[in-house]
């Protein structure tokens, strides 16, 4: 009874906070100074058609490097924890039977899902989406393969190589910006090109593709470790 009352009280409190936020909200009539700068300078300085990508990869590139690092740490720790469990015994394991629909459907869908992921991160500077979204889409393709065949084995060497290569290249491109352009992770180490074309916006397509590969590899390695280990008895 008391527990229920406290829960209701908490809910009412949260509702009051959100209601006060909602009813005092007045939309801005014009962009604030920072937003105005980004909106006015992105096309001429960075050459990216998608302003969000220009902010994520170039203006606030260091934050993105931090996010990628956090994801890397998380996937390393998941791998470390799971490596303490046992390797699964392929013959003794009794799995829930996989249906015909899932097996056949995954053969058709998995390549298309991966292709969509690559499309999303390669076009990150033109259309919504980018490295993180593309990487997550690729990983969900891998997960579909794992669901269809739980005993499938992915090469951890390949995943680790891909992950390290893209991480190192990302930081190397950032350092190149220090010497060849305005600062760390500046995208103008390559020509910015024509606004709206696939090969434009300097190093942004390159950096976002590397981020996409890295995020995809990290999620995939987590999923593969989850599927290949068994709980401690």
């Amino acid at each position: 009874m008391i527990k229920r009352f406290i829960t209701l009280l908490l809910l009412a409190g949260i509702g009051a906070i959100f209601a006060s936020l909602l009813f005092t909200y007045v939309p801005d009539s014009e962009l604030n100074r920072t937003a105005d700068y980004y909106a006015g300078h992105t096309a001429s300085d960075i050459g990216a058609a998608n302003i969000v990508t220009a902010i994520i990869v170039t203006y606030r590139g260091l934050d993105t490097l931090g996010e990628v690092t956090v994801l890397f740490l998380a996937s390393s720790i998941v791998g470390l924890v799971l490596s303490l469990g046992q390797k699964q015994h392929k013959t003794q394991r009794n799995r829930v039977a996989v249906g015909e629909l899932l097996t056949t459907g995954s053969r058709f869908l998995a390549p298309l899902i991966m292709l969509l992921g690559v499309y999303v991160f390669v076009n990150g500077h033109l259309t919504p989406g980018g490295g993180f979204q593309g990487g997550a889409i690729i990983a969900s393709g891998m997960l579909l393969l794992l669901l269809a065949d739980p005993l499938r084995h992915f090469s951890h060497t390949l995943i680790a190589t891909l992950e390290s290569f893209s991480g190192l290249s990302y930081v190397a491109l950032g350092v190149l910006g220090l010497f060849m352009a305005g600062g760390f992770l500046d995208n103008r180490i390559l020509p910015t090109g024509t606004l709206g074309e696939l090969i434009s916006a300097g190093a942004i397509p390159l950096i976002y593709s590397l981020i996409g590969l890295k995020v995809g590899a990290e999620f995939s390695s987590m999923l593969a470790s989850l599927s290949e280990t068994e709980d401690l008895k």
Binding site: N50, T53, V96, P128, A136, I137, S140, L146, L226
Partner: protein, 102 residues
Amino acid sequence: MNILMTGMSAVLCIAMLGAALLAIRVKGDDSLPLSILAAGLVSLFASVLFLILAAPDVAMTEAAIGSGLTTFLFFFLLARIRGTAQTVDKNDGSALDGRDYD
């Protein structure tokens, strides 16, 4: 934001609330897959809502991670829990926490 968009947002909000309630309230022997699907549905509606609010990048992240990867992952782990529960069942006749997941 015009009337149509406001109406759509309202419908989506109500649908989100319904799906969320379904996710935590659904009962029965085979309720876990339904809960997982309902939780994925909440994310799917949220991503459409982000799209209406003119944030396509966020909508994409929500759709890819919230409704795609998480839902798949839950199903994947559910299958694994069921596998473990069955193995334990064979060994000493009791599932992990005494509940029957099948």
